[in-house]
């Protein structure tokens, strides 16, 4: 079982370019999340999706968009990257239906540098 796969592992991107970070899970979890991790700030939620076809804004959604066309995939798009979006991005998923077991599992992350 692969769990959560994120791609690419790392990327250097010119400012103003468009970039999509990919996230795929094979656990049939209905909820998925995108976080960014910055030193001294911990992980902050960007967007989330409780089920396929629905998305919601997290703590720091500006400059990012997501879609959830199916259960397994939850891509994160930076329409026009800016240097402040340099960060490590983590995708997570959980079984939202089970309130006691709604544990989030994380991918290995994508390290993005915007120059």
């Amino acid at each position: 079982i692969a769990g959560i796969t994120q791609a690419p592992t790392s990327q250097i991107l010119a400012a103003g370019r468009r970039m999509t970070l990919r996230c795929t899970q094979d656990m049939r979890h209905n909820a998925m999340y995108w976080y960014r991790q910055d030193l001294g700030l911990g992980l902050r939620l960007i967007h989330y999706s409780n089920t396929a076809g629905t998305t919601g804004k997290g703590e720091v959604p500006d400059g990012y968009s997501v879609s959830r066309a199916n259960t397994d995939d939850f891509p994160l798009t930076l329409a026009s990257a800016v240097p402040s979006q340099t960060s490590v991005y983590f995708c997570a998923s959980s079984d939202y239906r089970d309130r006691e077991k709604n544990i989030q599992y994380f991918g290995a992350g994508t390290r993005l540098s915007v120059l």
């Binding site: 909820a31 999340y33 992980l43 939620l45 409780n50 939202y96 309130r99 709604n102 989030q104």
Partner: protein, 117 residues
């Protein structure tokens, strides 16, 4: 709004010494509490969680944490640290139930643990 504070940005201990990482939270509702560990270049792995019941919870790798409601704390402990425990540790909180946002985690800033031989 909920918040989580980890007062110690960086802690250094000697191998074999005991460890306590502090976590304080501010939350209006009944919280679920978590500790995650992140090894260098890796994603986050769940160490342990507290939902209800016994306030001392055991996790993987010999870690435990104690929930103290009166102090709004959920400190992580280990009696004897191993060199492989060097990593970054995150405390997190989410609401227990109800509403569309109950699955979302709020993380602390993280504590980097260095272990000296």
């Amino acid at each position: 709004a909920q918040s989580v504070t980890q007062p110690d940005i960086h802690i250094t201990v000697s191998e074999g010494a005991s460890l306590e990482l502090r976590c304080n939270y501010s939350y209006g509702a009944t919280p679920y509490l978590f500790w995650y560990v992140q090894s260098p270049g890796q994603g986050l792995q769940l160490l342990l969680k507290y939902f209800s019941g016994d306030t001392l919870v055991q996790g993987i790798k010999g870690f435990e944490a104690e929930f103290k409601r009166s102090q709004s704390s959920f400190n992580l402990r280990k009696p004897s640290v191993h060199w492989s425990d060097a990593a970054e540790y995150f405390c997190a909180v989410r609401r227990a139930a109800g509403g569309t946002s109950y699955g979302k985690l709020t993380f602390g800033q993280g504590t980097i643990l260095t272990v000296h031989p």
